[in-house]
């Protein structure tokens, strides 16, 4: 297949290259315009949800089209990348977003959160994520990150009447602003060290060993890590996560735990591998420690949780640790492992939160694991799906979670990080201590609160999310070949091609 060459210096070319982002932005603006007049009744709300869904699907369509057409930049990508990694991450975020919107449609109505702006914020956040996954320049990374974060701050507090939700949003905003400062400062220092903010140009500068040795570079990389560490909830920058995940409405939590976190990682992987691939000494050790701390603390504290939503919050921190292991490998193989794992992780997290939303009420934060006792008798399919999600999160063979974890282990071992691989396995053993009790409760304990099972309701959208996630996780657990190939090819494209003529300064 001949690749589709896109000239990024021409307006037509840049439009084509940014087509998914443009589609989403346009969609969001139209949505805002319409709900300015029509926001009073549940019908309008339903319409907004449907309209957003269509927008996300169209964007997904454009992503897949550009991907299949093999869009390639004609020259050096200055602001936005055109490669498999961008399309793969975009597809993952969009799938996460579609799932969150499907969940939200039934959920917001049930919880009486009739704020149609919700959907516009989801769309804006999505634009930010796509930019983060596709950034070819640190400035675009920052723009995308802020666009996403600002939208998500509001989303976390969208349930205005709930003090918990408001507190969560405020905490998130305060700490997020703090972290953004670190990130921006890191970008400035990197610019100071290399004289450019373009990722590939930085990489070419770093071919010069004198620059690699500059303390300014190391300090800049460290600052960037702090900023990204916050976004992906790596220990010790994780402390906001349990409170925010707990306080936010469950579809938002799912969106944050899956897509937002994956977007933070996508930008981190891009910056680390593409720009700083030659300066691994500046960041590999720190990422190594972040990964270990995140895995250990996330899993240990999750063990002590009795409420499912909070347990899932810590589980999401623990998974950030596994993904950091893929980054710590510092190879494109690690990038591929990240892609596959992020895909599987998005599905299983969204699925688990969807089941939680179905069973619980009023924000679900008071739902104990014991409340799931005997659920399998009354709701066999729902229980089966949750069991699949739990096993996949655990990394049990036969599920996509297993394949993902295996890829991460392989990447770590091939990069000579055997200790880290052992830590992943040890941490996974710990995680069995809180994933399996959920399954045990559903299948092996007598039912105590019949009303939990009776009251479990999933709207059509939620049902679709749960069923599709479970099926895909099982499918890719036994037949991952196609997805593995895609992940491998996309990860490889993170490496900077050898020679580029005409460096911009």
């Amino acid at each position: 297949m001949t690749p589709m060459l896109i000239d990024l210096s021409a307006p037509a070319g840049i439009t084509l290259a940014l087509l998914p982002e443009i589609v989403l932005t346009g969609w969001a603006l139209i949505l805002l315009l319409v709900i300015g007049w029509r926001h009073g009744d549940p019908d309008h709300h339903r319409w907004a949800g449907g309209f957003t869904l269509v927008g996300l699907l169209v964007a997904l369509g454009t992503v897949l089209w550009l991907w299949r057409a093999g869009a390639t930049p004609d020259g050096l990508p200055l602001m936005i990348a055109l490669d498999g990694f961008r399309w793969a991450t975009a597809a993952i975020f969009l799938i996460g977003g579609i799932a969150a919107v499907l969940l939200a449609q039934g959920y917001l109505g049930r919880e009486r959160i009739l704020v149609p702006e919700f959907y516009a914020l989801v769309l804006f956040a999505m634009v930010g994520m796509l930019l983060m996954g596709g950034a070819a320049d640190l400035i675009v990374v920052f723009l995308g990150l802020e666009l996403m974060s600002l939208s998500v701050y509001v989303l976390a507090g969208i349930k205005r009447r709930s003090p918990q939700s408001a507190e969560a949003a405020l905490k998130y905003f305060l700490l997020g602003a703090f972290a953004s400062g670190f990130l921006l400062y890191g970008i400035a220092l990197l610019y100071g060290a290399t004289g450019t903010t373009n990722l590939q140009a930085i990489a070419l500068q770093l071919a010069d060993s004198e620059i690699v040795g500059r303390p300014m570079l190391a300090l800049g990389a460290g600052m960037l890590l702090v900023g990204f560490g916050f976004k992906v909830s790596a220990v010790p920058f994780h402390m906001w996560a349990p409170d925010v995940y707990d306080g936010a409405p469950t579809p938002v939590t799912a969106y944050m735990a899956a897509a937002v976190k994956a977007a933070g990682f996508a930008a981190l992987v891009r910056v680390a591998l593409t720009a700083l691939g030659d300066a691994t000494a500046a960041w590999q050790t720190t990422v190594w420690w972040l990964a270990v701390l995140t895995m250990v603390v996330g899993n240990l504290v999750a063990l002590a949780q009795r409420r499912l939503k909070r347990m899932l919050a810590y589980s999401s921190i623990a998974h950030a640790g596994y993904l950091l292991v893929a980054v710590a490998a510092a190879t494109t193989q690690g990038g591929s492992a990240f892609l596959f794992y992020a895909f599987a992780y998005t599905l299983m997290t969204v699925g688990a939160f969807a089941v939680l939303a179905a069973v619980g009420r009023d924000g679900e934060s008071d739902l104990l694991i014991d409340d799931f006792n005997g659920l399998a008798e009354r709701r066999p399919w729902l229980s089966f799906a949750l069991a699949v999600f739990m096993l996949s999160l655990l990394g049990f063979p036969g599920t996509a979670g297993f394949i993902g974890k295996w890829l991460i282990l392989a990447a770590a071992v091939d990069a000579g990080q055997a200790t880290l691989a052992v830590m992943v396995v040890g941490a996974s053993v710990l995680s069995a201590g809180y994933y399996l009790p959920v399954i045990m409760a559903m299948y092996m304990k007598p039912s105590e609160r019949a009303e939990v099972a009776e009251g479990a309701r999933l709207a059509r959208g939620g049902r679709l999310v749960v069923a599709a996630a479970a099926v895909v996780l099982l499918l890719f657990g036994v037949w991952p070949n196609r997805a593995l190939d895609v992940a491998r090819d996309s990860g490889r494209q993170l490496a900077v091609p050898g020679v580029i003529i005409g460096l911009p300064r």
Partner: protein, 659 residues
């Protein structure tokens, strides 16, 4: 490769499809017995037809190398590459014909035999699954695929022995078979590890081609490999010391005994040695061990068969004994002779089991009609049945003459060939004369116990009971039909491989030559003069005649009493009836100490006492405690969070800048 051989996957896929369909029916519509019969018999019949076409194509190709059909790569893992591949050659062709051909007849018989059973669909699903795995076993082109079939037939054997699992004894018999086979399978696995380590491959063609380069003839590695493989064979094919599961396996439906525990599965060990004959040829000591174990098992099991009252138990021990002959054959390097006896045995032993099934079927119905709970398998409750079951009686007599080795019948030629080849090997070592003598004595006992079985079952006065006699009937045609076909094969099967002194001799021998040639290369040529061969044939005739005559002369069916009134046995008779107390000895020496070790030491002390309390629960408590401490830090105050954030950031930056 002839194009028809590419279709070999179909032979395997058909019974698998039958299993899937019948398995589904057994779950959703178990009463659809017509559909079940059509699917169960039809798929095996179709597989048989495809097999015929493939064998025809193979015969036309006159190939000296096997045809390997690779379907897909199964385990590509570093240096280890295992493909799902089927091997069509002269040896697998013989097995294919036996498995699908005899299998088809037994499927047809089962339609009549199992007609009234509630688990009809489940039965046929298992039976089809068995045929599938057996075909995988004989077609596999590498050790792992063969092993998949090997384990699969073991699974089906377990499922079918315990088919009527609501009786605990049946379920126990299934478990016993499964567990004893595990011992053998461990040997098989170890052999595979050795083979891979030495040759770097597990595919038959590569292993056999590399073997002469990597192994020293008679060296320790190759001997160990051959002996471990043979350990696997003793489990699957019920040889000393792992034979005790087979008689218990008679708890399953009788057609299962005919198919799995006589004609096909239990011969898998013989097939394995034939398949790996190159390895065994390079390990003469292992070959001698195989031959010795085979000969001793033949005699040992024959002595036990002398005194059994259960008609199926007699046949079970007879099977163990006949399998011993096959191992004697392949052990002395006469691969074709061992395979020849395997084929003829499949005919006459399947016939004997099915005939016994027909008798049991009749008696069972008779007792059922009169509501008496007597043992329908005990020969003391039979007698004189030839009056009501003339077909069954006649065909079983033919099979008896075949197994006893009466000249002209198939068993005469195959058994004589095994013994003659053993005798011929006596030039090399005197041990083989001894093995020949053991085999000859076992042949005498064979003739005796088979005649005893026939006398007690079909002759003399009837002991079933006056009321029951009116209810004893000949089986329907779906059951007698297969019996007649098998009877014809039992009679004329000998022409497959006539002795050298006769015209048209050694057909099977020549057919298998491409498979056995590589192994024959390592073996000294053994040859018998025509005079010796005639003498051995004459002796075999005398032995068969002597055994039958002795039984006829010394046993008096008229003196027997029905099982319920029979006096207890004493002395040697009791020793034989209780099977030399081998089960009891195993129980005392192995099972009980093992159970004690597992129960008291490993479970209560090590597992519950140390691992569970300290290791598992202790570490869990520590981890949970650490988690609780971690959640205390989660105060909810933004100030705390910022504190940790800043401390973390400072540490991180410190670490980042100190390289």
């Amino acid at each position: 490769m002839p194009p028809v051989i590419e279709w070999v996957w179909l032979v395997v896929a058909l019974p698998l499809a039958g299993f899937a369909a019948n398995g589904l029916l057994s779950l959703v519509q178990p009463s659809a017995k017509r559909a079940v019969s059509a699917i169960g018999v039809g798929t095996v019949a179709a597989a048989f037809v495809v097999t015929l076409a493939i064998v025809r194509g193979l015969a036309g190709a006159h190939a000296s190398d096997p045809f390997v059909v690779t379907l897909w790569q199964w385990i590509p893992l570093g240096d280890l590459r295992v493909a799902v591949a089927f091997q069509v050659d002269q040896l697998s062709a013989v097995m294919l014909l036996v498995v699908t051909g005899v299998g088809l007849l037994i499927h047809v018989f089962s339609v009549g035999y199992m007609r009234a059973d509630d688990g009809y669909a489940r039965y046929f699903a298992y039976l089809n699954l068995f045929v599938f795995f057996m075909l995988v076993l004989v077609l596999g082109a590498n050790f792992p695929i063969l092993f998949v079939g090997w384990e699969g037939v073991g699974l089906c054997s377990y499922l079918l022995i315990g088919f009527w699992f609501d009786v605990k004894a049946n379920a126990d018999a299934g478990k016993k078979a499964f567990l004893m086979n595990r011992i053998g399978d461990a040997g098989f696995l170890i052999a595979m590890f050795f083979i891979f380590q030495a040759t770097g491959s597990l595919a038959f063609d590569e292993v056999f081609a590399r073997a002469p380069r990597v192994f020293a003839i008679g060296g320790p590695t190759i001997t160990a490999i051959a002996l471990f493989l043979f350990l696997g064979c003793t489990g699957k094919s019920a040889q000393i010391p792992l034979y005790t599961w087979l008689p218990d396996a008679m708890a399953g439906p009788t057609p299962v005994s005919a198919l799995i525990h006589a004609a096909t599965m239990v011969t898998a060990g013989v097939y394995l040695i034939a398949r790996t004959n190159v390895l065994f040829a390079m390990a003469p000591i292992a070959g001698a061990v195989v031959a010795t174990v085979g000969a001793v098992t033949a005699l040992w099991a024959a002595t036990i068969a002398l005194k059994q009252w259960d008609i199926k138990k007699v046949l079970a021990y007879s099977t163990v004994s006949q399998l011993g002959y096959m191992f004697l054959g392949v052990g002395v390097g006469a691969i074709a002779s061992g395979m020849f006896h395997l084929v003829t045995h499949a005919f006459f032993k399947a016939l004997l089991f099915l005939g016994a099934g027909s008798v049991i079927h009749a008696l069972h119905h008779a007792y059922h009609a009169t509501h008496r709970h007597e043992d329908a398998q005990d020969m003391r409750n039979m007698g004189g049945l030839r009056r009501w079951m003339p077909w069954t009686a006649s065909v079983m007599w033919l099979a008896t003459l075949a197994i006893a080795g009466v000249p002209g019948f198939s068993g005469f030629f195959s058994k004589d060939e095994v013994l003659a080849m053993t005798f011929a090997k006596g030039h090399e070592h005197v041990l083989f004369y001894g093995l020949w003598a053991v085999g000859a004595v076992a042949a005498l006992l064979t003739a005796f116990y088979m005649t005893r079985l026939m006398l007690y079952t079909f002759h003399g006065p009837n002991r079933t009971g006056a009321a029951e006699q009116g209810h004893v009937h000949e089986a329907p045609w779906v059951m007698t039909g297969p019996l007649v076909i098998l009877a014809a094969l039992s009679v004329v099967g000998g022409v497959l491989n006539l002795p050298e002194v006769l015209p048209q001799s050694g057909w099977l021998h020549h057919w298998l030559e491409p498979v056995t040639a590589a192994g024959d290369f390592f073996r000294p040529d053994t040859h018998l003069s025509h005079g010796t061969e005639w003498a051995l044939l004459g002796l075999a005739t005398v032995i068969a005649g002597l055994g039958i005559a002795a039984a006829w002369r010394f046993l008096t069916p008229a003196d027997l009493k029905p099982a319920a009134e029979a006096p207890a046995e004493t002395g040697l008779q009791k020793l034989l009836l209780r099977k030399w107390y081998v089960d009891e000895i195993y129980d005392t020496l192995i099972v009980r100490p093992l159970v004690w070790l597992s129960d008291v030491v490993l479970w209560r002390r090590v597992d519950a006492g140390a691992i569970d309390s300290v290791g598992v629960n202790g570490s869990a408590r520590v981890a949970r405690g650490l988690g609780v401490i971690g959640s205390w830090l989660q105060t909810g105050h933004v100030g705390t969070y910022v504190f940790f954030f800043v401390v973390g950031a400072l540490l991180l930056l410190r670490a980042a800048t100190r390289f």
